[in-house]
Point group: C2
Chain length 630, copies 2
């Protein structure tokens, strides 16, 4: 008996586990029954992937490890469980039936349109922490939850993440592994359900649990390898995992997909399939007598208060935009703005992917080092970790180059289904970054963020509007995106100007306006230059700062369409899904013609002004376009 | 002296290395000189990241390891070099100056708009295999190049990938590591330039080269840890790497960022910065005498022919769409089509991310197992590997769920800059997948693929059009996307119907058409149902199958706008960046009103017909919309 085991036997909680252990096999049997009947009722669902994890979850939930107040899913002290293998949702729901919160009848609504029991766990079910179903994201969410517990709220809750073996092929898992170890997240416990079989056949590593363990140890995790159907081994593993300090723990469990039903066990071609009625009866016969009255008890958590992070005083005067300041990059204005907000609201957290001296998230990091997390060059893990932080009520701002946020599109897409309150900030957008070339230029980022159903997309042109819009983002609930520019741009607004989501600013307007130019960010300044050039020739144009790309200020755009002969949009972004399309789609029933200038050729390295010129989105191109319309 | 070293000393090639070694220090010095003067001439660029890898690349290029015909960059037998740390481009270009293909004057055009020497290597420079600059992708490209050499062309060329230590945080690198080991790619040699410093500060592992080695070994690679500035150690490492069989090899080199210039070496805050003139002079003084006349020789490769993969005979009759067949899922039609094409063209290769029994890539896999690569659940690596295969003239079809292709947006974005010829196929799109729920539904995929500048987006509604469009995709050069549907859909076209990129089909048309309904994929069938319902009430609608979402058949759409009172688009996709916006933007100057039906609420699990109804994109919703317009 090793030291850990001895301690366990001496601890009182170990005795309570022993006591509870009697019920566990019965509970496991009932869980299998629930998985069988619920998927057959639904006519689909991932039965076999649920069966492999039955004992793993039985012990976690009902042997005293999980601490959770079922009456209060938002209680800060609750332990967290993430089914990263979200397709094992039949098991997930079954656990809450055993816990007394769902009936068998409820379970049989699985996958029905009015049921909260969706095909993959969604947040309409109150015990789902975050929506899963795109594999490889759950451990990163767990990193966010665990960072919050260890470094922000300083609460003892633990985060358990159930992983499938197939999803270990996703690089994001290893991003999470490395970062969890870097931040010594000893409150994070992963459980790999090594059932050997993916959707289509065997995984790369098959049943080689020692290989998973080798990899996990190389990434700085403590590992415990067990038989995932042996309740004694499993409970010992959780007990040991609870006691490991300074590193996260991975329990690597050898399991059988379809365990418990002989014609399913370890067989191909059963992934994501439910049993027909005759097959179900055969399976139930094999399962034998099930005590449907057995219930498991989930331990109550302690009632501790979240700590308030103590910070040094920060002189906010350092972050004011001085009234004599003529130019400032919007990315720098973002850094200042977030720092000022951070002083007002402790919930604001900043994450960045090794770019903070480019995005200027480093300003916040210097002021509030305890609320800044360096996430290194791993954008996918960064975004999913932000989902975890948002789940705990934090307000994460997540920054890197706009181009590199594309790396996390799947994670952003999934974040919307968790109703996550995350603020994305992409710097270095468009060809105006200049010499670094197209690989670094955000040119599809507007399209990407617009495509998210309820997103907000903001694109300020100067320091004042940036600051005001960052404030608006912090208040807004949901997914929003701020697009910032690399180069210094003139400050064009006064300190007291107001900016709203869904608004716009008409910079130049007269009764003689011939054409309206609609721009945002860097191209607003080009439009203003064009205005001045055209004015010299007595040609008036209206210039609109469309800083809110989504939602659009349709009223102002329609008015411009009524009052001027033509509209011209200008953007430092590719055509499809960009500002021009957004404006055209919004104004489709207007008769005023709308023309669009955008990045139409593949950009190169070059000086910003050369690139704006070669792409025909600079002042000269705007002047030329306007002249062609007169 | 171990066995490998002894063999090396006995082999004749080792003597030639010894001979070449004399020049190497001089070459290294010249490379440093070139890096210094080119970045200072540009006024920007990643000088210090170049300096750390000078010796590593000196030995690779000029000590007899790299085999490359400089007169013929497309020669199939050339070894391949990928600068995954693309920001070290000053060094990359300098190597070709030492090899005699560029002058110092050429190097000083670095980052200028008319120069092929871009800030990150682009394919306008003839020796760039693929465009890099988004970190963490190069090793995956190398996997594609190495898969081609080992399994397809069966040529002995080797692929060398220079990695930065910062980018080892990207999960995609570990996806590549795992897959390379799975496929035993002993022709793939990675070199990690462990210079300790990222852009913003120290990496997670700093100078702990043994930690990198531990991780790499855990992922099944042979490792060689060296001092990355010691030419003898480096040449021995390459020699050893050449001789290792059955596993890829990672050379882990401890280096100094900014090596060779004391005020840069191992210092923070020099990332991505060039020296001012005074700093340059100080650096050159320290560098001392440089022999600008020294040249290095790159060894010629052998002249071997690519093998033709031998395959068993496949009975193509199995893949015909039988004329009595009434229904077939477009995803299944894709599987059949690609198999028929595969029989005609050996260059067609299929990759899938553990979904081949859902995407039906498994039909091809069964027929042509040697040209199918299972890429497991690692979409990023899959896409970048396809870039590597495309570089070697293969025609990769890359499939998974449409939703999960979002995971690889950054890789798809980068693929365009390599002019990669890749065909993407996303199955299980839209709410019509039903019970699996929103995490599995492709609802932003059209927006994503449309945003790529020169992409093609195709969305067939039946088996015949799918087959014809897959043929078109195979012929088209560049990035294209095919969107397939999960459920069986009626076959509506005849076998001899023609389909073109940029085309459409008008399904129903009469002189009495009141409204035009524009749809694609699943919603075309709903539109046809709506047509039949409306016909019963003597209301005629025109129905257009907009199978080419990008480019659009604007002529047909305009004609419909002229000939009917209103247009209604219907799509199983979110609003922004989808078909409705595309049509509206294309027809903005028409006066005919355009209305759009799309997925407007967050979807749930449910039956396909329930979901189509609740999102108001089914026949009933179309009928209702049309009636409201009369």
């Amino acid at each position: 008996m090793d030291t850990l085991e001895k301690q366990s036997f001496l601890g009182s909680s170990w005795f309570s586990i022993i006591k509870n252990m009697d019920h566990l096999p019965q509970i496991a049997k009932l869980l299998r029954y629930y998985c069988l009947v619920s998927t057959s009722a639904a006519g689909s669902g991932h039965l076999t992937s649920s069966l492999s994890a039955v004992e793993l979850m039985t012990a976690l939930y009902f042997a005293g490890f999980l601490k959770y107040d079922l009456e209060n899913p938002d209680f800060l002290n609750n332990d967290r469980v993430i089914f990263s293998k979200g397709h094992a949702s039949p098991l997930f729901y079954a656990l809450y039936a055993v816990a007394g919160k769902l009936t068998e009848k409820d379970l049989k609504t699985l996958r029905q349109i009015d049921s909260p029991l969706e095909g993959h766990p969604g947040v309409r079910f109150p015990y789902t922490e975050v929506t899963t179903g795109s594999l490889g994201q759950g451990l990163s969410v767990g990193v966010g939850l665990a960072l919050n517990a260890k470094y922000l709220d300083k609460l003892p809750y633990k985060t358990y993440v159930l992983l499938g073996d197939s999803e270990m092929a996703e690089g994001q898992v290893w991003e999470a592994m490395q970062l969890a170890s870097y931040y010594k997240l000893d409150n994070l416990i992963g459980i790999i359900d090594v059932n050997r079989l993916g959707q289509r056949g065997e995984t790369m590593l098959g049943h080689d649990v020692s290989d998973y363990a080798y990899k996990a140890r190389a990434f700085g995790w403590e590992t415990i390898v067990i038989d995932g159907h042996n309740l004694t081994e499993i409970t010992k593993a959780y007990r040991k995992a609870e006691q490991i300090k300074n590193s996260p723990v991975m329990i690597i469990a050898k399991t059988i997909k379809g365990k418990g039903i002989s014609f399913l066990a370890d067989q191909d071609n059963w992934h994501g399939k439910a049993l027909r009625e005759d097959q179900l009866q055969e399976a139930l016969l094999e399962l034998g007598d099930v005590d449907v009255s057995v219930r498991g008890e989930i331990t109550q958590p302690e009632d501790l208060r979240a700590k308030v992070v103590k910070e040094k005083n920060v002189d906010l005067n350092n972050f004011l935009i001085k009234s004599d300041k003529k130019k400032l990059a919007t990315r720098k204005a973002y850094g200042n703005a977030i720092t000022k907000l951070g002083a007002q609201n402790q919930k604001i957290i900043v994450l960045d992917a090794e770019m903070n001296n480019s995005t200027f998230a480093n300003i916040f990091a210097a002021a509030f080092p305890k609320r800044y997390f360096e996430m290194f060059i791993a954008e996918q893990n960064m975004v999913s970790a932000a989902v975890g932080l948002a789940r705990m009520g934090k307000i994460p701002f997540v920054s890197t180059f706009g181009s590199f946020l594309t790396r996390a599109f799947d994670q952003i897409r999934m974040a919307q289904y968790s109703k996550a309150n995350i603020k994305f900030v992409g710097s270095h957008v468009g060809v105006s970054i200049g010499q670094d070339g197209p690989s670094q230029m955000g040119l599809e980022d507007i399209a990407m963020f617009r495509s998210i159903r309820e997103s907000i997309v903001l694109y300020p042109s100067d320091a004042i509007s940036t600051e005001k819009l960052v404030q608006q983002m912090a208040i807004h609930q949901g997914i929003s995106y701020l697009r910032t520019t690399r180069m210094d741009t003139p400050i064009i607004y006064k300190q007291d100007e107001g900016f709203e989501i869904g608004g716009s600013k008409t910079i130049y307007k007269s009764e003689k306006d011939m054409v309206t130019v609609i721009a945002a960010g860097i191209t607003l300044h080009e439009s203003m230059k064009a205005y001045r050039q055209l004015r010299k020739n007595k040609i008036n144009i209206r210039v609109i700062d469309l800083y809110s790309v989504k939602p659009l200020d349709i009223k102002t755009l329609k008015q411009a369409a009524e009052e001027t002969k033509a509209l011209v949009t200008v953007e430092d972004h590719y055509q499809f899904g960009g500002i021009g399309e957004a404006v055209k789609a919004a104004l489709v029933n207007q008769s005023t013609p709308i023309y669009s200038l955008f990045v139409g050729q593949q950009p190169r390295s070059g000086q910003p002004d050369e690139l704006l010129a070669s792409e025909k989105i600079d002042a000269a191109a705007i002047v030329e376009k306007v002249r062609s319309l007169l």
